[in-house]
Symmetry: C2
Subunit: 219 residues, 2 copies
């Protein structure tokens, strides 16, 4: 299977050393683009951070756009997989709270620099790079899907009413996460994120209460 960047112009690594170099470049680029934005990250920057030469970057990624596409895919795919165990169990209010609080702790740790890895890229690239936009939409869809699956499981289990629009709830939580992170990033304080996310989860908890009430009334 080819990655997006390879589809464009880059070459896949065929030796062990090459693979390591490619990874080093990708990680360095992801980190820098997250911290300083895509436009604020130059190829020489990536060279320094990855201890690689220009030839290596252009060899594996074709051009800066290819590198950017690879970073988007990395952030969308790999980061998601890292959280897979957690993401597969977002089917209770407690799990949702714990998951969101985990992100809050991470925000605290970096003093709210950077916001969300995908969100930052999305804001910067959506309007100027159509193919990047596609990749980012896919990335967001994966997160939304993880939330929605958990809520759907709650619904099947009876924790939420049968006609509950779990899709809308999932979008709302994702939006609160993104918007909350943005507000926290600007204010250098994780409080806005925590408040926004908690209010939305409170709302979901209210729906769970409502479902319980309906269950007791109509047994």
């Amino acid at each position: 299977m080819q990655t997006r960047s390879e589809r464009t112009r880059g070459k896949a690594a065929s030796t062990e050393g090459g693979r390591r170099t490619r990874d080093r470049i990708l990680h360095a680029a992801a980190e820098l683009m997250f911290q300083q934005g895509v436009a604020g990250t130059s190829i020489p920057d990536v060279q320094r951070r990855a201890r690689a030469s220009a030839s290596q970057i252009y060899h594996y990624f074709g051009d800066k756009k290819g590198l950017t596409a690879a970073v988007i895919e990395y952030q969308s795919t790999v980061k998601l997989e890292q959280q897979r165990p957690l993401l597969d169990h977002l089917d209770s209010i407690d799990a949702l709270r714990a998951w969101c609080e985990g992100a809050a702790v991470r925000l605290d740790a970096v003093h709210c620099a950077g916001g969300c890895e995908i969100g930052s890229l999305a804001s910067e690239l959506s309007d100027i790079d159509p193919s990047a936009r596609l990749g980012l939409a896919t990335g967001f869809a994966a997160w939304q899907n993880a939330i929605e699956s958990g809520l759907a499981r709650m619904r099947e289990r009876g924790d939420l009413e049968a006609d509950e629009d779990v899709s809308a709830l999932a979008v709302t939580l994702l939006a609160a996460i993104q918007g909350g992170m943005l507000l926290s990033q600007v204010n250098r304080d994780a409080t806005p994120y925590r408040r926004a996310v908690n209010v939305v989860i409170d709302h979901i908890a209210d729906r769970v209460e409502a479902a319980r009430g309906a269950r007791l009334a109509n047994p």
Copy 2:
């Protein structure tokens, strides 16, 4: 009163023509930076759009950072004033819905390009320009304040319970707006924005219902 950019290096216009030139530049820069980002907007770009020479831009704004600061202040202050009549009456569920739907219609009109004027700037600049971050935080605070004031009036009026945390609700709505706009921008579809915002307003409406219930029980 001096604007931020004048504090830095730019000069205020003292003739009528100068004021017009300055405004033309400011509007052009605001538009371009909104569409293509700050990094994606070059001084020559602004020159063309504003039909102004480089001298004029540097004369009135000092440097690109000064121009950016002026754009931030413009987006934070002027845009807010444009909505002042609406903003001063966000004290009912219907008013909140109408206001948010107005933004949705604007999103539809531009096919979801651009997202939020302040949000885009915030995401791009927060981490790389401390003074810009300050200005953006002020801008967000003004919007949050407008929402919070309306909710506080609802609380005073008894539409919300006396211990309701209107500040948290305001932050949540603002976060949903920002996050929703980002999701809509990426998906080129205003639906995510509408869903996120409506769920949050539904939640506020639930609180209003709860307050009404409490009022009836404890007259």
